[in-house]
Symmetry: D2
Subunit: 374 residues, 4 copies
């Protein structure tokens, strides 16, 4: 693991997600860009000294010095965004499988370079757009694929958080780096959570955004990046959409919701009530589909660990991304094609698409044109 | 009553709303533009023959022929939209109080003419933007006024219906006139329900839209007016907003929802669960405010008839508009100023603002410009 | 109307319910047992002096002095419970149709006498167990009848209110008479709201209680009647049930809920969300049935006034009881059999069953026996 | 681990729960009472051959043959109920810490023997009444302790499942042993899930049941144990309660809900929506308390891993029991007193109380007496 030291939020999430199914062992790390903190964090987690490093370069060098069969199989990159590119590229080039947090990198040039490197080296590369790991999101995706709601007409995806409704910068570690252009890139809320919303919509609908019209605002005085975004979307093929992402939505916690309206019905899913998917057919009562039910698709079933009524949640969904990566690595080790229902996780291309989405939103927000193509 | 004959949806609603508090008696009518149907409808409702008319002109003439004290006090206009202007203007000019359905008229010229006529004659003129009649909407309005959520930053208002997801035109009376430009004017969904959303947002927030960026679409093939609208809003003073109005949202019934995010908290209200208002303060647990509770504002209390837990709904809210009109008429008869908490209803100016909103949305949708001022 | 003067809660509800569909005119009354208050209340409501009486006896005498065709057709009795018997019996014996509030009377002897009188005189007699007037309750009843949930196995009905969680007696008019044995009879919460729960369960399931085991408690110190009841039920045919009724359930408003579990599925309805009925089939996703939907039963459809998504609530349901009474009276006037889907309201026999239920609960609570037959 | 082989539901849950926080390694096991299956299951999980056993006795013998510092620290017992007693006693007597599934044992004699053994050996003994591991249950417990709802008056706890609504016996492994008196003891639903309900109520309220009046039924023909229970409760100190436990509640998944009504307010928690606790103060709006919020009690905060809005669920709550056991073991290893907020888990005494509850319910159900003391 690179990044994720003491006080890091997302590193801890990754570690729980890895641990849950006992398919990963954390054996080496460079857990912070500050060497002292990195080493202390590694000791907290029980890393052996020789595999506990003060920098990612030292980690990489040491791993490469080991015989191939003793090296780590996969590297989780959970640093702030601005470091993703260099680290990910180095590990991919060195032949390691990678799990990288999102947004993938800062620019589409960086993203394309990474896509090419992964293709060249043939490594596994997962991006933790974790919301697609929820069983009921996979159920929604399968229902769309199988035509349960007909042709898609309108997509409404919203991601409301309120934790940045006040100026937390200067003290709150999460707030600090997420609103710092040097570390977060050109985008604030639209990068941090808007790209999750984009990924969720793309995952479920399979639609591609053709052009968009975005308004980005910085609501809290003194903030250096956007904290509120409203985007009109046009998809290839004629569907339309709206994407809202706000971190100043006072009173909201992590309110990601996707509604997809088709010619034959609609689907509605909310991250804060993730075991439920509402399916409203055009001419029959609304149905409440629940995780773990026998009538779900195979893709959704495989994403469940325990029966209906025993809720699974954020960490389990996150772990499903790791499980997908593990299945893909296992298949490669076994020299077979992975079962796509097992090796089900966002790839480097999904990460690259997210980067282009963010770039286009920012371009649109700075443009006089009504529609900006993606 | 003018309009609202057999099979009319909204006429029936108005009659229930009038009846509920026993403050109105329906004594005269011209209930359809088809004379035969008008008369038959009037007989159904027990109108006496001499006050049951085949045309609104006949109704007006007959009323004017009566001694002033025998005339109707107020005329409810519930015809399709294209007739509102001529009829409303005639009755106002003749000195009658009027309740008119929404949207008020087709053009802002017509609206302005009506505003001037009402001002000149000093009559009461209510517009049945009925959702503002809900007690918890009034509670939200009062809370905003009293600063409970601080300065407003973002407004999200959405009105999703699914009943026009298929081409009902040609048979369904409601679908027929609502999608007919001759009767509905330049706007479909944005006029029929989008203007309700605009009114709800304006009522609660008190904010004025400065400019907007609208996408109007006609999704169902062959339809002649828009059936899906997505609008970005900028309010005077710096707040932003999003307004969605769709009649092709399969699986939705009458899903009007308003969320207002301020610097100190947020409010959330849904028409399909109207006895509840969610108030999320910035730094305290979310509160579930319920109709009838003793801690509500006076304005909300007065809009209730029965105790908490005994739900009131659509007709009661509609009746509150009529109750407001009655209070205003009573005050004028008594020669006193009406208590504004009693005489609480949308005025002709609110109707005119709604017409300008619709016009601006349609102009924006046809424009290359990013923002169209209102 | 007898009873229902100034400050009366239920009288006002009855008047709104009568008014809503414009099928009743309030023309005569004895609105309080205190003559002065009765007359003042009648003046408030616009009763003409000669039909505004200081006592129910005066009202009855005066009506009988009128030619039959000028008399009121139906008398609404909305006094405190202890007066129901004498007044109802007198009006029935005199040949008037009656709507009487619940619980019907204090003792089963009184109830039986009333049943016999109604049978003898052939009058219409409605009891305002109003919750059966909700469209989705009727839908539930029809679904049970048609076997949608198979054979009923377990019934859970609960009615939680919190308004008597503190000693309101001595000042609060509602609290005063509802906790006064002289006016409320032998039962407090179990009579006031427990009998509603019994009626709701009986209406939907059609099952008869065979025996019960009740615990009645008086929780608030100084209170003179029970304010909390828990009852185990055995139904004829083998189903079991639980009935909870509490007025000390702090934080609850009017939380009446019925769940019926059958061999093929279950139904769940809550009064505070009355437009929804949850149907969970044994082997398919839960369905959210909503008022106004085209796939509802005819019985439910007829109980609706406006389309799905435009919620109807307490007063509309109450008005449906009055509408049923009106349909029955109309049919008799026309000399035809009433359509049972129109003349759908609780009869005097339902009222009598409620009285026996209350008596049995009280007997059980005072008994050492485990089960008390009804 | 003892028990929990291939196809076992609860063994898998325990393993996820252990893994989540990376504080337990599964190093030895006897995963089934069938030796072949035990060994195969152990191989699936990567147990080394010398610590993968065909019987729990072999496991125990082998562990005792190891130097103390190489032995397992804690044994998880996840067999069917009838084996708990013998195994748990043997491991406790041998000085191992134990985590045992519930219900603890079959008889209160067995339970008392186990309590005495644990006291004698001074070992840690956790019982996986897992629902107390939910952060919002701990919040409820702390609020009760701190008087947030005043004196408790009424407790309603219900646990509805529908999976046994049909005769699954003869094929479904879970159904088979849970309805088999030889393996499940004298109780079906009341033992399997009713004891969870008892534990939840006891955990939150701190009240002791004084006596109860139970009805147990076997609804599905041919079933050998109860599948539906309704129990009236009297608590020491005067509060009353109702406990419902049913496995024939068609349409329910795992619907455990606790409501506690006090003199100053009430609390309401549902396992299927576990991140939320509703607190209704007597004279203020209902509050929606959510997991992860800064205003929660320290006990609740410590039970959270990730921020508000990122839901945690069943496995995380289960893991909190394991975390509590780990904290207790760590404290003993360190020779210090455990922080009670960390070492927060159900003890052997809670398990024993659950056994007495089950026995008393069964006794009551077979008795003519109204109340059976516990």
């Amino acid at each position: 693991m690179v990044g994720g030291g003491r006080d890091a939020f997302i590193g801890r999430v990754h570690r729980h997600a890895m641990a849950l199914d006992a398919r990963f062992d954390l054996v080496a790390g460079a857990l912070s860009s500050q060497p002292e903190k990195a080493l202390a964090s590694g000791r907290d987690l029980g890393l052996r000294d020789e595999r506990n490093h003060g920098s990612w370069q030292a980690l990489l060098d040491h791993e490469l010095s080991l015989p191939a069969e003793e090296r780590v199989q996969v590297v989780a990159i959970v640093t702030p965004n601005h470091l993703h590119h260099e680290i990910a590229l180095a590990f991919v080039e060195a032949g390691f499988h990678v799990v990288c947090d999102k947004p993938l990198v800062h620019t589409s040039e960086q993203a394309d370079a990474l896509v090419r490197a992964v293709a060249r080296r043939g490594t596994v590369f997962g991006v933790t757009y974790n919301y697609g790991g929820y069983p009921m999101v996979r159920q929604a995706r399968e229902m769309v694929r199988q035509g349960a709601i007909g042709e898609i007409r309108k997509v409404v995806v919203e991601y409301h958080q309120g934790w940045l409704a006040t100026p937390l910068e200067g003290g709150n570690k999460q707030a600090d780096w997420r609103t710092d252009p040097a570390r977060s890139g050109i985008a604030g809320a639209i990068g941090d959570i808007g790209s999750h919303a984009e990924n969720l919509a793309a995952t479920v609908t399979g639609l591609e955004i053709e052009s968009l019209c975005a308004e980005l605002r910085t609501v809290v005085p003194g903030r250096r990046l956007d904290d509120d975004a409203s985007v009109l979307l046009r998809f290839r093929g004629g569907a339309a959409g709206v994407l809202l992402a706000s971190q100043i939505a006072a009173g909201c916690e992590n309110d990601l919701r996707l509604r997809v309206f088709g010619s034959e019905g609609s689907l509605d899913w909310r991250q804060e009530d993730p075991n439920v998917l509402i399916h409203a057919p055009l001419a029959a009562p609304r149905q409440v589909l629940t995780r773990g039910s026998p009538w779900l698709s195979e893709a959704a079933q495989r994403a469940c660990r325990i029966p209906a009524g025993h809720p699974e949640a954020f960490l389990e969904a996150f772990a499903n991304i790791y499980r997908g990566v593990a299945a893909d690595i296992d298949a490669r080790l076994a020299g077979v094609a992975a079962d796509p229902l097992d090796a089900d996780y966002p790839h480097v291309e999904d990460g690259a698409r997210g980067v282009r989405f963010i770039e286009t939103v920012v371009a649109s927000a700075n443009s006089e044109a009504r529609w900006t193509p993606i």
